[in-house]
C-alpha cells in the first residue's frame, strides 16, 4: 500500500486508503449525481435512519432531493452485470444532524455487491469491513449478528407493528428490562420473551459464543442463520480476524430491508459506530427484480474530531527568504528537499503559530539553518 504522509487528516487519509483497498479486491468505482427525484426517497423513507430530506424544485419544476443515502441510489441506478456487480463509492450524503437539528454533509465510503450473494461474498464484505476499520484504528471491534435470529422471533409475536418496532428498539439498546415490561403489557408468552432475552444477551468473540447461539436455536430458519454465521466466522478466523469480530445479537438493522448477516463497527476513540452494513436482499428485491445485495458504509465525518493529525510539525523546514533578488536559486534548492520527502514552507517573516521542525534563512543566495522564530 502507498505511503500516505502524516500531514493529511484522518478523513483525507481514508479517502485515499479505502478506495485503494476496494480496488485491490476488484471493486469498481461508482460515481453518482448529488441529486435524485424526491419521490424515490419518499417511497423508501423507512430505509433512511432519519427521514428529513433536503428537497427543491429543479428548472422543470420536478421535486428533487439532495441524496440522503447512497445504497438506495446504487440499487436503483447501477447497471447490473449478468453475474455480480461489485462497486465502491466515496460520496457525500446530506442528512439532519441529531445534535444541532441542522442539515449536514456527511462523507461516506463503502462497497456494495449486487447479484446472487453467497456465503463467500458475505465473508469477503465482512473482511473488507474489518480491514476498513483497521485503517481507522487498530483497536476496533466489528459486531456481527444475523437478522433471522432475534428479529424473526419478534416477528412471530402477536402484537402490532408499532409494538414490534418498540421491542426491536429495546433489543438494539440492550434494554432488556423494558423489553420484558412491554412483553408483559402485550401478553407475549413468557417462554417466547425469555428465549429472545437469552439470545439478545449473547455477546463475545466468535469462537467463544457461537456454540451458545446454536444451543438456543429452535427452528430450521435459526439453524440456517447459525450455519451462515459459522461459515463467515470460520472464513474470518482463517484471515486471522477472529479476535476482532464479536458476535452481538443485539445488533439489529431494519427488518423490512435486511435479511441476513448484519454488522456494525466501532473504533476505540469514536463514541458511536463508524461502520454499518449487512445483507439487504429485501431492499434490493423491492427496487430491482430478483437480486441479492450486501454491503457497508464507513462514516468518515467526525473522524477528524477523534483522530487528530499525527504530524507534530506543520513543516520540516521553514525558510525565511531575505534575498528576493536571488530567489530563483531558492526554488531549486527547496525542490530537492521536497523530492526527498520533506515538507517546506517559504515566508518573508515568521508566520504566527507555525510549528517547524527546523528553520533556515535564505540570504546572499545561500540557505543557512538558523533559529529565527
Amino acid at each position: 500500500m502507498k505511503h500516505i504522509p502524516d500531514f493529511f487528516s484522518k478523513e483525507d487519509n481514508l479517502s485515499i486508503a479505502l478506495p485503494e483497498l476496494f480496488e485491490r479486491w476488484g471493486y469498481k468505482k461508482y460515481r453518482m449525481s448529488k441529486f435524485e427525484e424526491f419521490s424515490f426517497y419518499s417511497d423508501n423513507r423507512n430505509f433512511l435512519s432519519n427521514s428529513e430530506i433536503i428537497a427543491f424544485n429543479n428548472a422543470d419544476g420536478r421535486l428533487m432531493a439532495l441524496k440522503p443515502d447512497i445504497t438506495l441510489s446504487i440499487v436503483k441506478n447501477a447497471k447490473l452485470s449478468e453475474k455480480l456487480t461489485k462497486l465502491y463509492y466515496n460520496e457525500s450524503v446530506f442528512r439532519m444532524s441529531s445534535g444541532s437539528r441542522d442539515f449536514k454533509e456527511i462523507k461516506q465510503c463503502g462497497v456494495e455487491v449486487l447479484g446472487e450473494i453467497d456465503n463467500y461474498l458475505t465473508s469477503e464484505i465482512i473482511m473488507l469491513a474489518a480491514e476498513s476499520l483497521a485503517m481507522i484504528d487498530e483497536n476496533y471491534v466489528l459486531s456481527v449478528s444475523h437478522n433471522a435470529l432475534l428479529l424473526s422471533l419478534i416477528e412471530e409475536f402477536n402484537v402490532t407493528l408499532a409494538v414490534k418496532k418498540q421491542l426491536i428498539s429495546c433489543i438494539g439498546g440492550k434494554n432488556i428490562h423494558d423489553f420484558k415490561r412491554l412483553c408483559v403489557n402485550y401478553s407475549v408468552p413468557d417462554e417466547m420473551t425469555e428465549k429472545v432475552c437469552r439470545l439478545a444477551g449473547i455477546e463475545g468473540k466468535i469462537n467463544d459464543v457461537l456454540g451458545d447461539v446454536k444451543a438456543l436455536c429452535t427452528s430450521e430458519k435459526m439453524l440456517d442463520a447459525v450455519a451462515e454465521l459459522e461459515f463467515v466466522c470460520s472464513a474470518l478466523s482463517a484471515c486471522g480476524l477472529s479476535d476482532k469480530i464479536h458476535i452481538d445479537l443485539s445488533v439489529t438493522q431494519h427488518i423490512d430491508y435486511y435479511t441476513g448477516i448484519v454488522f456494525r463497527g466501532y473504533v476505540e476513540k469514536a463514541p458511536n459506530a463508524v461502520l454499518s452494513g449487512g445483507r439487504y436482499d429485501r431492499l434490493a428485491r423491492k427496487i430491482r427484480d430478483n437480486i441479492g445485495a450486501v454491503g457497508f458504509a464507513v462514516y468518515l465525518d467526525n473522524l477528524n474530531l477523534y483522530y487528530r493529525k499525527a504530524a507534530e510539525f506543520d513543516a520540516d523546514l521553514l525558510v525565511i527568504c531575505k534575498d528576493t533578488e536571488n530567489s530563483e536559486k531558492l526554488l531549486g534548492l527547496l525542490m530537492e528537499h521536497t523530492r526527498n520527502g520533506l515538507c517546506v514552507r517559504v515566508e518573508r517573516s515568521c508566520p504566527e503559530a507555525f510549528r517547524a521542525r527546523k528553520t533556515a534563512v535564505f540570504e546572499n543566495g545561500e540557505l543557512k539553518e538558523a533559529q529565527i522564530c
Partner: protein
C-alpha cells in the same frame, strides 16, 4: 479506568453509596470542595458530577463510559447509547395533571404546559388529540392555576406539590426510574469492566429489596 457520570443531587448520592459498597469507592468524593471530577486509581474508577439532564449527553458523546439517568431524560430526547439496567431507584410517574375540577373540552385543542415537550407531543399524538404546547422551564404547576394552560405534563413523585396547588393526576403516561446507561463504543472496548460492575450492582440491588 471506568468513567462514571453521576447526576448531582439525591439520586447521584444514593447511587454513589451503592457503587462504593460494591467496590467502586472513591474517598476523595467526601471532601468538602467544589471539584467535579474524583478519581480512585486503586479502584480504577473516575466519577464526574454533572447536571442530571446532561448525563446522557456526556455518555452519548463518549465523555464518560457509563452513567445514571432518569428514564424521563431518555424518553424526552433520543440518544445513541445502551440502556443496561433499571435501578428501580427514584421511582415516579410521568403524568398529565389538571385542576381538581377540570373537565376536558374535546371541542378545542388542549393547552399543555410542560418542560417535556417531546413526551407530551408523542403521548397526545398516540391519542390523536390536537394540543398546543406551552414550553416552561420550572414551576409548571402554576400554569393551569393562572389559566396559561388546561393541563400540565410533569413528573409526579408523591403528589404533594399537586395537592398543595389544587391539582390532581388526570392521566398516567409512563413510569419513570433511574437507568444505568453506557456509551456504545465504551461498552465494546470495556465490556468486561462494565459487565462486572453491572453484575455486582444487580446483586446489591436485589439484596436491598
Amino acid at each position: 479506568m471506568l468513567n462514571i457520570a453521576l447526576p448531582k443531587g439525591r439520586l447521584g448520592d444514593k447511587v454513589y453509596s451503592l457503587l462504593a459498597k460494591i467496590g467502586y469507592d472513591c474517598s476523595e468524593i467526601y471532601a468538602d470542595n467544589r471539584k467535579l471530577i474524583f478519581e480512585s486509581v486503586e479502584n480504577s474508577v473516575r466519577y464526574l458530577l454533572v447536571k442530571p439532564s446532561d448525563v446522557a449527553i456526556y455518555i452519548s458523546h463518549g465523555a464518560a463510559d457509563i452513567g445514571i439517568v432518569g428514564k424521563d431524560i431518555l424518553e424526552e430526547d433520543s440518544f445513541d447509547l445502551f440502556e443496561l439496567l433499571d435501578l428501580n431507584l427514584g421511582k415516579c410517574n410521568m403524568c398529565v395533571a389538571a385542576p381538581v375540577d377540570f373537565v376536558e373540552d374535546l371541542d378545542r385543542p388542549l393547552r399543555v404546559a410542560t418542560k417535556f415537550t417531546n413526551i407530551a407531543k408523542n403521548y397526545y399524538l398516540s391519542l390523536n388529540r390536537e394540543i398546543e404546547i406551552i414550553k416552561l422551564n420550572g414551576s409548571i404547576e402554576l400554569a393551569p392555576l393562572l389559566g396559561l394552560s388546561d393541563v400540565i405534563v410533569d413528573i409526579v413523585e408523591t403528589g404533594t406539590t399537586l395537592k398543595e396547588n389544587n391539582l390532581k393526576v388526570y392521566e398516567k403516561i409512563m413510569p419513570i426510574s433511574a437507568r444505568l446507561i453506557a456509551n456504545k463504543s465504551s461498552y465494546k472496548f470495556k465490556t468486561a469492566e462494565i459487565e462486572e460492575l453491572l453484575a455486582k450492582l444487580e446483586k446489591e440491588l436485589k439484596n436491598n429489596d
